[in-house]
């Protein structure tokens, strides 16, 4: 395993900017060689003690997050590296092509995507979009109950989706009882997937995020129970509230 220096991250960022609009089938040998050269260049990477499994086997965000969580538990050196963007960016670079090809929804038309998906961007609006670190931070923030964050972890690694954008993208929603509420509303525990139609009006994740942003000025919703939060939700969420009410009734 290795991690990028600042220069390594910058070089990787430059490469991603070059290829961001390319489709999978447009990635030629030249780009493959450039990536390989980057991740193995001693001048811009630093060696780490530890070994990484091929991330190709983790298609779901939860599985990827859990893998990293356990890896850090066993290796304290790597645990410290989790704070460094160079660490995550090296992993992105090393497995960029594998992750692209492994996606269940990948096709020849799938594009690499924005730079913030691959290069950890120090910006409150974009930090969560990193495909490799995003799931781990959501898992860590909700530990010891990571399944409370399935609203952020149920989707595929390459296709986080709208709910992840709305919940992970807001610090105050990304953990605690509000995060659990979003999971109860939009995540189907039996099917292990997000509920069909969750992004359509009414009571969709955008409305959820907006509602709590308004409430944030005057209510400390983080200290409320899930049951109390559910009662606070306005009527336009009624379609999803029944699922959450059933889950609370069943599990308490």
């Amino acid at each position: 395993m290795r991690k990028f220096t600042d220069e390594g991250t910058e070089n990787f960022k430059t490469l991603v900017l070059e290829i961001a609009n390319l489709r999978i089938n447009e990635i030629g040998p030249e780009i493959v060689l450039k990536l390989e050269a980057l991740v193995n260049d001693d001048r811009i990477t630093i060696g780490l003690r530890g070994k990484l499994e091929n991330l190709i086997s983790f298609t779901k965000r939860f599985d990827l997050a859990e893998y990293f969580f356990n890896l850090f538990k066993e290796n304290s050196d790597l645990y410290l590296c989790r704070t460094e963007s160079g660490f995550w960016n090296w992993i992105s670079a090393r497995y960029l092509l594998d992750l692209l090809h492994s996606s269940e929804s990948a096709s020849i038309n799938t594009r690499i995507g924005g730079v913030e998906r691959w290069v950890l961007t120090r910006n409150t609006l974009r930090y969560h979009r990193h495909l490799v670190s995003g799931p781990f931070f959501a898992y860590e923030a909700n530990f010891p109950n990571p399944r409370n964050a399935m609203c952020q972890l149920a989707t595929n690694v390459l296709d986080p989706g709208e709910l992840v954008e709305r919940i992970s993208g807001k610090r105050d929603l990304a953990s605690g009882n509000v995060c659990l509420l979003a999971t109860l509303l939009y995540y189907d525990n039996i099917k292990n997937s997000l509920r069909a139609g969750h992004t359509s009006p009414f009571g969709n994740p955008k409305a959820f995020s907006r509602f709590f942003s308004q409430l944030d000025r005057t209510v400390d919703y983080e200290s409320l129970s899930v049951k109390d939060l559910l009662e606070l939700l306005p009527e336009n969420f009624h379609k999803w509230k029944k699922f959450a009410q059933a889950a609370i009734a069943e599990h308490g």
């Binding site: 409150t124 930090y127 931070f137």
Partner: protein, 261 residues
Amino acid sequence: MTIKFNYTKRIDLTTDDINAEVVWENDKYYLLLSWDLQKYLLEKNFKVFVDLRNSGTTETHRFDLGPLSSGIANHRIDISHMREPLSSRLRLKVIDINSKVHLIKAQIDNFIPRVPNSFIQQNQSKSLLKIIKDSDGECPWLLKFDSGEPTLVISGKDNFFYIVQENSSLIINLLLGDVVRQILIWLLMSNDFENDEIATKWKSFFFSLGVDPEIFNNQSISELSMSPTEIYVFASQWADVFSSKHNFIRELKSELAKEIQ
């Protein structure tokens, strides 16, 4: 005309009401937090919560600091588990937990704790600001930007540079505010950087101070919505924030008092 409504009578606390500082002790980071809210006559059973966030990331940690009680408190919070303890901002809330919806009765947001002086560090890695000697310089000190790196140039004439080294706290506290001001102006007014790595490190420094990262996303000065005059004013304001955070005036007075004695 702007009219402000305050239906819940939420009190906006001021920076005079609380004190926060990040310290490094016994290989750990601690947040030292204290407040005096007596004058607001809030209920003793209201609860105090603090949310600590990292600027530029999505990390946040919440701490339950118990009942408000007398309105005066001191807390020492271990924040070593945070990814970037030195880049935190806090939101302190006083909550009426007896109300059904847990109303916020008083709060302060985006409060930046004082952090260890990044330039003169006793037990951490090398400082961000490069300092060199100019053997023949007539000017006691200058900030230069040769090779794309802000460099504090201290004159070496008449052993001045070594005198500065001996009295680094006094001298550095005196000029750092303006150094920070000049560097921010340089970051905002440069169309491109000879050394991107150094520029990025300085931008990270200003993020940790509280400057909005978005302001650095413009490709050139022409894209900024600020005139040069406004940039100078903006930079002066952040020099004030930086100086206030490190209590330079208090430190200088203390050093000078020792000299007099």
